[in-house]
Symmetry: C2
Subunit: 605 residues, 2 copies
C-alpha cells in the first residue's frame, strides 16, 4: 500500500527526504494511514522505494519530532492517534451545487465589471511573440539578489521592532529607502509621514479614489487613458471627464476647469507613452492651484527615457501639496512582491492610512523588509540600471523593426522612451480583427479599444510592448505581423504596374539614381536623407539632429537597384525595382509590392 | 573620509563584506562619492577598517559587477559616472509644510473613523503583563519551518506556472492545501472555485461587505461584537442591528427577521469567546433559509476547544450555500504573512474575485506559495498542535489565577476554549479607569467599551487574552491586577470586624471546622466542595463533573486556620481567620481582607 502512495518524482524540487515526509503527511491527514496504524519499517520502505535507508530514517525522525508518528519500543512506527483530534466529518450540503449566479447577482449591491482592461491570455508565455506591456520575461527577475534580501528579512525579527508595533505603521527601513533612494530619482523630497505603503499600485489608486470621490466629484482622466482608473471612478459613481492627449500628453485647456480632481500620467502617458514637457507640467500645476484642484500623478512606470533628461515628477514641482504621487516598486518584481506607495500631504496620508487599516490592514512586514533590504543593499539601483539597458535595446529594436518592415504603413507616436510603442494602423485596418488574427498566429498585440471612455470603439491604434519579449525575437515578430497585415489585405497594397511609364531600367535607372539624394521621413516622424554616391557607396543620416548615420554600397544588376547598408536595415542586402515620377521615387520589392517612397533630387540638379 | 563613512557594526546581521558594500552604495547614491571620484585601494581601505584585504576586494568586485564602480587599469577604482543618470535635483515646494488637516478633511468624501477597536500601545512588548489577544509572543513563531517554505517558494519559479497566468487566479497549490488540509478540520468540503485568497481576514470582510451591502441592507452584528465589522458596515451606510449574546453565543429570535445578512462568530464569539451549540446553529441556518438571508461566518480564530469536541462550522451544515465562510492562516503568522480566505458559492466567489482584482490585485504569489508549502510540508499541522498545547496551558493558567486571586470578585463567562476570558468586574469598578491604571503598572487588559454598538459605554466587562503573555508570567500579572483593584478600592472591600460575634478562636474554631464540608462556586460557575477530615487531611473536588480533584492538609495554629493543597492554590500554604454565621463560613487573610465565602456543613450534622 505504501508503495503505491509514495511516488518519488525525480523532477521534483523537493529532495527525496522531503518528498517522503510530504507524502506521508498527506496520507496521514487524508486518513489513509489512520491514527494508531503501523507504518512499514524504515528498512522495508527504503527497499520498496529504492532509496537509502537513512533517507527514510531521517523522514521518520522529523515526523516523530513533529508529532505525526511515534516510535513504540520493540513494536515499530505508528501514526499518532492525537494528530487529528480536531478533524471533523464533513457535514451535508456543501457538496451540493451552488445556487445559480443569478441568485448572487441579485444580492450584489456593487456592480463590478468583469473587464478592467486588456485581457491577457492565461498562457501568454507560450506565444512566440508577446508584444505586451507589463509582463516580464523570466530572464529579468533578479532572483539571487531577491533571495538574499528575502533570507535576511526572515532573519531580521522585525516583529520585535517596537517602531512598527503600532498596528498601522509601515516598516521604517522601507520608508527610509524609498525616501532616500527612489524619490530623489524623481526629484521628490518627502518626510516619512508623507509616505504610505500599499499592496501594489492598483490598491493605492483604489484607496485614493475611495477616499476622495463620490457622485458629487468630477475627475479628469486622459483620453485615451488608464481603463482601471475609469473603472474605479465608476465604482465611486464619480463623473469621468475624458481629456484629449496629444504628442505632449494631456492637453491643458479650460475643459479641465470643471473637475475637482485631475488624474494624469505625465512620465509616460498610458497608453501612448508620450512624455509631458516641463512647460505643460507647470501650466497644469498653476491651473490646479488657481482652481483648488487635486492632482493624482500616476508614475508607476518610472520615467525611463532614452533621449534627453527625465523630467522631474509633478510632485517635485508642486509648491502647494496638491499632488498625490503614486508609484510602485518595479513591475518586474510584482508577481512576488506587491509594493506600491503614495506620497502626499501628511494630512491626507493619515486619512488613507486609516482607510487602509480598515480595508486591508498593513501590508506584510516581511515583504516590506525584503523590499527595504533589496534597496539598501544596492540591488535596486544595479537592477534598474540593467533593466534600463535591456529595455532600451529592445525598444530601439522594436522601433527599427517597425520602421524597416512597416515603413509608413503604420505610424508610431513619437516618444522619448519607456517600454511601448503606440502604433497607428492604416485606415483600412480593423485593429480588433488584426489583434485576434495576430494572436492566432502567436503574435500578441493590444488593441486600443479599452483605453477609450464610453463606447468601446477602436480608433485604429494598437500597442506593442517590449517587457515580455526577448530582444532577439522582436524583429521576426514584427516581420510576421507585417506579413499578416498583407495577408489580411491591409497596409501597402500598391503593386508595381509593369507598364508604368516611370519604371526605370538599364542606363535610365543608373543615370537617375547615381549621385541622387533621397529625402523621406521614418514612421517616427524623423527625417532621413540618403545619398547614392557615384563611386557606388552610399551614406545616410536620420534622427532629429541627423545623429543616426550609416553608410553602405549600392549597385544595379538586371534593372534592379541593390542596396546594402552596414548597419541599417539589419545590414542586409535588399533589391528593389524603381519608378520615378514628379520628383518622387518609389521602390518595389521583387514581388512587386511597394516598399517605400521618397523625394529624389538627382545629381545633375 | 572613507573611514568616517564606513562604520562596521559588530552586532549587524550583515557580514563585513555586505556591510562595506552597503555603506559604499549609500555613499555613492548620496553623492558623497561623486561619479568619477577615486576610491581608496583595497589595501588601504582594509587597513583603515581593520578587516582582511580580501573582504574589501570581494566587496569591490561585487560593486564592479553591479556597475557602481569601475576598475581602471593602473589608475585604481573609480565611481561609475553613469550610475546616477536619472538623479534629479529636488524641485521646490515639497519641503514646504503640508496644508492643514482641515483642508484634507474637507476634501475627503468617505469618513473613516480613526478607531476600529482596541488601540494596542505601540510598545506593548515592553509591558510586563500583556493580557491582550491577537498578538503573539516571538517564541511561538515557527521560524525555521517558515524559512524552509519561504526558501522553496522563491525557488519554485511559480511565475512560469501557466495555471496562474490568469491575472486573478490564486496559487492552485495553496487552494488545494486549504481545501484538503484546513477545511476538513472544520468539516467543510469545497471545490477549488469556491475558495478565494485575500490579503488577510480583514480584507475578506471588507470585500464581502463592499459587495453585498449598501444603505438599503440591514445586517445583524452580535452585541457585544466585532467593532471592525460594524465600522465596515458604517462605511457602506448599511444598517447595523445589534443582537444580544448569551452563554451560547448569539441569541436566535424574531429580531433577526429584519436583516438581510447575519454576521456571526459561532466558534468563539468575539469578544466573549463562547461557543454556539449545535442546536442553535441549526436553528440559525433554518431561519436564514426560510427568510432568504445570507450568513457571514467569521471563523478567524479556528475553534480551539479544550473541553469537548469542536463543532463543525456553520458552512459545513449549510445545505443551501447561504453561508459565506471567512477564515485565515493562524494569526501568529500574520505579521509576515497576510493570508485570509473566503469559502462560498462559486457565483459569489466570482464576483468577489473581480472586486479584489480592482481593489488590490492578486495577493502576492510568493506569499501564497510559501503558505502552500508550509501546509504541504506538514508544518502547519505540527505547528497547530504545538500552538494548541501551549494555548491550553496558558488558558488554564489564567483561569486558575483568576479563581485564586479574584475569587468571586470577578466573574468569567463560561467558555470551552480559545485564547481569552471575558471577565465581569464588580459593580463598583470603573473598567476604563482600571484599564488605564493597569497599563500604567505594566498590565495590559482590554476594556469592553468598543465592543458595543452606538454609545461607547462600558458594561463593566473586560477581556484578558493569553496569546502574547508567556505562561509563567500569568499568575503574577493576575495577582498584581488584584492588588491594583484593591488599591483602587474595588473588589472585596469587606474587612474582618475583630468584634464580630461569629469570629471563631481556639476550640470553637477547631470544633466548627473539623470534619466540615465547604460548598461554593468558582468564578467559572463551577461547584467546588472541600471536606476537612478529622485526621488533618482535606480533599476537594471541582468542575462540572467533579473531575478536578486535589487533597492537602489543614491545621489550626494561633487561632488561625492553615490550609495547604497539593496542587490547588499553586500548592502553597495559606492562613486565614474564620467567621461562621447562619451556615456561612467566611475566611479572611491575615490583613483582615475577606478572601472568600462558602456554605459550611459541620461534621456533627
Amino acid at each position: 500500500m505504501t508503495e503505491a502512495l509514495i511516488y518519488l518524482d525525480p523532477d521534483s524540487r523537493l529532495n527525496l527526504q522531503s518528498q517522503i515526509r510530504q507524502k506521508l503527511v498527506d496520507a496521514i491527514l487524508a486518513g489513509t494511514f489512520p491514527g494508531g496504524s503501523r507504518l512499514p519499517s524504515s528498512r522495508k520502505l527504503a527497499g520498496q522505494l529504492g532509496v537509502a535507508r537513512n533517507t527514510v530514517v531521517l523522514s521518520y525522525e522529523q515526523l516523530i519530532e513533529e508529532g505525526f508518528i511515534e516510535s513504540r519500543e520493540r513494536s515499530g512506527i505508528f501514526v499518532n492517534e492525537e494528530i487529528l483530534p480536531e478533524r471533523i466529518e464533513p457535514g451535508l450540503g456543501t457538496s451540493i451545487d451552488p445556487e445559480s449566479d443569478q441568485y448572487w447577482r441579485q444580492k450584489v449591491r456593487t456592480e463590478v465589471s468583469g473587464k478592467h482592461g486588456y485581457e491577457l491570455p492565461g498562457n501568454w508565455q507560450s506565444y512566440a511573440f508577446p508584444f505586451i506591456d507589463g509582463q516580464f520575461d523570466d530572464s529579468l527577475y533578479p532572483t539571487p539578489q531577491w533571495r538574499e534580501a528575502s533570507r535576511m528579512a526572515l532573519g531580521a525579527r522585525i516583529f520585535r521592532d517596537s517602531s512598527i508595533a503600532e498596528m498601522d505603521a509601515d516598516d521604517p527601513l522601507l520608508i527610509e529607502e524609498i525616501r532616500t533612494k527612489m524619490l530623489p530619482r524623481r526629484g521628490i523630497s518627502a518626510r516619512a509621514d508623507q509616505i504610505l505603503i500599499t499592496p501594489g499600485e492598483q490598491n493605492a489608486l483604489y484607496l485614493i479614489t475611495h477616499l476622495l470621490t463620490d457622485e458629487s466629484v468630477s475627475v479628469v482622466v486622459e483620453e485615451p487613458g488608464n481603463p482601471r482608473m475609469r473603472q474605479l471612478l465608476h465604482q465611486q459613481k464619480a463623473t469621468v471627464l475624458p481629456q484629449p492627449v496629444d504628442e505632449n500628453g494631456m492637453v491643458i485647456n479650460t475643459d479641465l476647469d470643471l473637475a475637482q480632481i485631475i488624474y494624469v500620467t505625465p512620465s509616460h502617458q498610458v497608453p501612448t507613452a508620450v512624455t509631458m514637457p516641463m512647460q505643460r507640467r507647470r501650466a497644469l500645476l498653476k491651473k490646479a492651484h488657481k482652481l483648488d484642484q487635486l492632482i493624482i500623478e500616476d508614475d508607476f512606470e518610472h520615467e525611463i527615457n532614452y533621449e534627453g533628461q527625465p523630467h522631474p515628477a509633478l510632485r517635485s514641482l508642486d509648491t502647494h501639496n496638491r499632488v498625490i504621487y503614486v508609484s510602485a516598486l518595479p513591475r518586474v518584481l510584482a508577481p512576488g512582491l506587491r509594493i506600491g506607495f503614495i506620497v502626499a500631504s501628511a494630512g491626507l496620508i493619515g486619512e488613507i492610512r486609516r482607510l487602509r487599516q480598515l480595508a486591508i490592514g498593513r501590508p506584510s512586514l516581511i515583504n516590506q523588509r525584503t523590499a527595504a533590504l533589496f534597496l539598501s543593499l544596492g540591488h535596486y539601483d544595479s537592477f534598474m540600471m540593467r533593466l534600463r539597458t535591456e529595455m532600451q535595446l529592445r525598444w530601439f529594436e522594436l522601433g527599427e523593426a517597425l520602421n524597416h518592415y512597416h515603413g509608413r504603413a503604420v505610424v508610431t507616436i513619437p516618444n522619448q522612451g519607456g517600454t511601448v510603442f503606440w502604433v497607428h494602423a492604416p485606415e483600412n485596418v480593423d485593429v480588433e480583427v488584426l489583434t485576434e488574427e495576430a494572436a492566432r498566429q502567436g503574435i500578441l498585440i493590444e488593441a486600443d479599444t479599452h483605453y477609450y471612455a464610453g463606447r468601446r470603439k477602436s480608433r485604429n491604434w494598437f500597442r506593442m510592448g517590449v517587457t515580455s519579449i526577448p530582444g532577439e525575437r522582436i524583429r521576426e515578430g514584427v516581420r510576421q505581423l507585417r506579413d499578416l497585415m498583407w495577408d489580411l489585405g491591409y497596409g501597402n497594397k500598391v503593386m508595381l504596374d509593369e507598364n508604368d511609364p516611370g519604371l526605370l531600367k538599364g542606363e535610365a535607372l543608373k543615370e537617375m539614381i547615381t549621385g541622387a539624394t533621397l529625402i523621406y521621413r521614418t514612421h517616427f516622424f524623423e527625417n532621413c536623407t540618403i545619398i547614392l554616391h557615384e563611386d557606388g557607396s552610399m551614406t545616410g543620416r536620420a534622427g532629429k539632429n541627423d545623429e543616426d548615420r550609416d553608410s553602405g554600397k549600392w549597385w544595379i544588376e538586371n534593372h534592379v537597384w541593390h542596396r546594402h547598408w552596414n548597419k541599417w536595415a539589419y545590414g542586409e542586402a535588399k533589391a528593389y525595382r524603381i519608378t520615378v515620377k514628379d520628383g518622387k521615387i518609389s521602390w518595389y520589392n521583387l514581388s512587386g509590392r511597394l516598399a517605400d517612397r521618397a523625394e529624389i533630387i538627382p545629381a545633375k540638379n
